[in-house]
């Protein structure tokens, strides 16, 4: 579908950078204590980039988005669009486009009227308005529905209307509040890709909120992992997956085993870590505050282990689960539980629980983080 390509010709961009400085949002608990919804949040978004806020519910991602939209006002801190301070600018003066979780289409207006609404408010001349609305409707394949009411459309169609309504005004910043969470799995993946293509072609600075890590990885230039109102890590999807800085990030972004080991020494730019009667070499990362003799947790993704007769680790299988593409094994390594996967089960066949297996560890990929205190 050439939606995104044609969109490019239709809309010009007006996009700006976004900067959030030391944002704090507190609320009063029932006990009369001041609690943090968002705590000292700082983030820069380059023009045209899509940044995702990812975290469990209640982590402060939606509050952050709402502060950017102007629906919530930060307790302290500053928000800038380009050079202008918008911290206390009302939402209707911010020049944003927003796609809501519930789509929030105006139920009493037709699809055409929904899309035209923002332009009418901006007092765009009648003729221009008509052309712009019709062009966006055509691009989104919504022409045939333009005289219908939102309730007469399917979920996917409503989603497209919501997107059309948000971009037709050519906003400086586009905000997405879990826009795909009401769609079924297949449609969600499709819309996710369309949305990303559209955003990239248009080059609209975007902030996207989700709790779905696969969605975050698929569409983002940068991912911000949050919990309890605090940023845990900021980076590209690849960085976050391969170089998690703490247990929360490693666990939230994909599956991870945390295997306890000890730093024995250092060899050039690598730590020598003892792990279940083996020594492995782990690249030094200056962001991780550890030193010799520290107990550390090795972050080992399930796919870092492979079944190999020559492997340096021996583990006893406790459970095998056949999942088609791969077999997932649970095993005991020394006295630690591990999970690993075997994608080559067609060659290896699959092993029964109770048997011992040899495992090889892809040491290059392992990261260490300070052990939980």
């Amino acid at each position: 579908m050439a939606l995104a390509e044609r969109m490019e010709e239709t809309l010009s961009t007006n996009s700006s950078s976004v900067s959030m400085r030391d944002l704090v949002k507190t609320y009063l608990s029932a006990a009369g204590e001041e609690n943090y919804a968002v705590k000292h949040f700082s983030l820069d978004i380059q023009p045209g980039k899509l940044v995702t806020l990812l975290g469990p519910s209640g982590c402060g991602k939606t509050t952050t988005l709402r502060m950017l939209a102007g629906f919530d006002i930060p307790t302290s801190g500053q928000i800038r669009f380009g050079q202008s301070d918008v911290t206390f600018t009302p939402p209707n003066k911010r020049d944003i486009g927003m796609v809501f979780q519930s789509y929030a289409l105006f139920p009493h207006l037709t699809i055409y009227e929904n899309v035209a609404y923002g332009l009418q408010i901006k007092k765009v001349p009648k003729e221009e308005l008509k052309t712009r609305v019709n062009r966006v409707l055509a691009l989104m394949h919504l022409e045939e529905f333009k005289d219908r009411l939102p309730s007469q459309l399917s979920g996917g169609q409503q989603q497209r209307v919501a997107l059309a309504r948000a971009v037709v005004t050519e906003p400086k910043v586009l905000l997405f509040d879990e826009p795909l969470s009401n769609l079924d799995a297949k449609l969600r993946e499709y819309m996710r890709d369309e949305l990303r293509k559209l955003q990239q072609r248009l080059g609209i600075t975007s902030l996207y909120v989700t709790h779905d890590q696969a969605e975050a990885m698929a569409i983002s230039d940068q991912v911000v992992i949050m919990t309890k109102g605090v940023i845990q890590q900021v980076g590209s999807p690849h960085e976050i997956y391969t170089k998690p800085v703490n247990h929360f990030v490693a666990d939230f972004m994909g599956k991870a085993n945390f295997l306890t080991g000890k730093i024995e020494g250092r060899e050039k730019d690598a730590w020598i870590v003892s792990l279940e009667n083996n020594r492995i070499l782990v690249k030094v990362d200056r962001n991780i505050p550890v030193q010799v003799a520290d107990a550390v947790d090795c972050v080992v993704r399930p796919e870092f282990f492979t079944l190999d007769e020559e492997g340096e680790f021996t583990a006893r299988l406790t459970r095998a689960t056949y999942l088609g593409t791969y077999v997932e094994y649970e095993a005991v390594l020394g006295n630690q539980d591990v999970t690993f996967v075997d994608y080559a089960h067609h060659q290896h066949g699959w092993r029964e629980a109770g048997t011992d297996v040899k495992l090889r560890l892809n040491q290059e990929a392992v990261r260490i983080i300070p052990a939980r205190s």
Binding site: L28, G32, E33, G70, P90, P91, G97, M98, K122, D147
Partner: protein, 566 residues
Amino acid sequence: MQRGNTGIAFQHQLKTQRTRLKMLSKEPWLLGIIILLFISLFLFSVYPILQVLKLTVYDETGFQFDKVAEVLNAHFFQILWNSLQLGILSAVFGTAIGFVFAFAVTRTQMRGKKFFHLIAMLPIISPPFVMALSMILLFGRNGMISSGLLGIEDSDIYGLTSLVVIQTLGFFPMAYLNLRGVLESIDGALEDASLSLGASRWEVFRTVTFPLALPAIFSSLLLVFIKSIEDFGNPMVIAGDYSTLAVQAYLEITGMYDLKAGAFMAVAILFPSLLAYMIQKYWLSKKSFVTVTGKPSQASKGIGDKRIVWPLFAFCSLLTGSVLLFYGTVAWGAFVKVWGVNYTLTLDHFKYIFTLGLDSVKNSLIMATASTPITALLGMLIAYLIIRKNFVGKKLMEFSTILTFAVPGTVVGIGYVLAFNEKPLLLTGTAAILIIAFTFRNMTVGIEAGSNSLRQVDASIEEASTSLGANSLTTFWRVSLPLMKSAMFSGLVYSFVRSMTSISAVIFLVSVNWNLMTVSILSQVESSRLGVAAAYCLILIFIILIVIGFLELIVNRLGSSKRGAH
């Protein structure tokens, strides 16, 4: 620790309010409207009531407690007791009948539900004293039943018994409507579950249905109680020697020019009814067991057992029969020469109205028409502000809007006379004072309906409008208001009906130039021109029915006109 917390909480509140104020100041129109609303609510809801309260203990020479003692004599307490007794009796009978009626209409397969429902609406849309008038026509000295059928001479119907009968018939529909909503929303699956566990029909009723409806039964009792003790029209016509507070307050002020005594009577109605209202609104509404899930439950067919349905059917028939008899009597009374003496059909009473008494009909229509749209629109606006906006003093605004509604009409009437009798607020004798009284007294229902319907609307729909560049007022006008259409309709209907039919407040506010229909009817009854009074009632009901139909048409039009213009 506790102290520390309060300190933090206070600082937090202070900061939040400051931010809100700052944001509000960026929408000067919205801020202006909120300030204007505060001023007018204070002036027309709070201030008049304060005037009444002040008058009871205070006059030109300062606090006057000896005068207080003088007013609070045995006579006063007798009247107070009369009112309370009447209120309790009517509340019990009205609620009991309303409950059985509501149960029959919602939980059984009885025939004729629609018809029963429609007839029950009659007392709600007609002036309060139609029943009293009809009582005289049926059972009075020249009554059709008393003297005509039974041949009783000198039948005396004036007194407590008649009042209780009339108020029960007139107010049971309120209890019915209140209970109907609750009984309707009790999930049939609960009763089915009870039946499946082996309970009999009676046990199901006793252990499931009735307990679930209990909060609504209490609130109906309170509502009818309030209605009864603040009722002015019926007791005025038919109480005889049985003095009640509302009537006595009026007589003290207009008959004996004793404002202070009148104010006392009014305050004596104010406290019990305000108390009952507050209990009803803030305590009972929280006790409700019925949860709105928005998920339609499998519609249960209701009880089909003939041994249950037939007695209920007989009961409902008898009840609606009585209502029809009362209204039919008034209708007939409007067309006969001299009731009880000469039953020849005639149009004389209507001719009389159209030649001599058309002014009050016109005035009532003008006042109601002027105040209705203002009332409904203001109601929706306030509902929007209360539900969707945060500003300092929101609770206060909410409270003052229910004040004039919860406060008895007599108190409001006296309060307005006291408050707006002098410059610069000299309003007595004008049309404005009537329109203002209607507006502020009838707004509450629109606000409630508007708030309820807004709560069902996803707030992000309005946020979407804001994010697209619309300010709060544009959002209200273009998004929220259209979505509150049905609430707007009930606000319009309610305020029109109340403006046309109310009497307890306006009887203090009418003047030679601006007389109203309900007041005219009352004076016709007092001068024993019952035929003319009946004709007036008929015209009034007729007007109301036409206007309701008309409003329905307009509101439906509003919703569908914006279609397919492109």
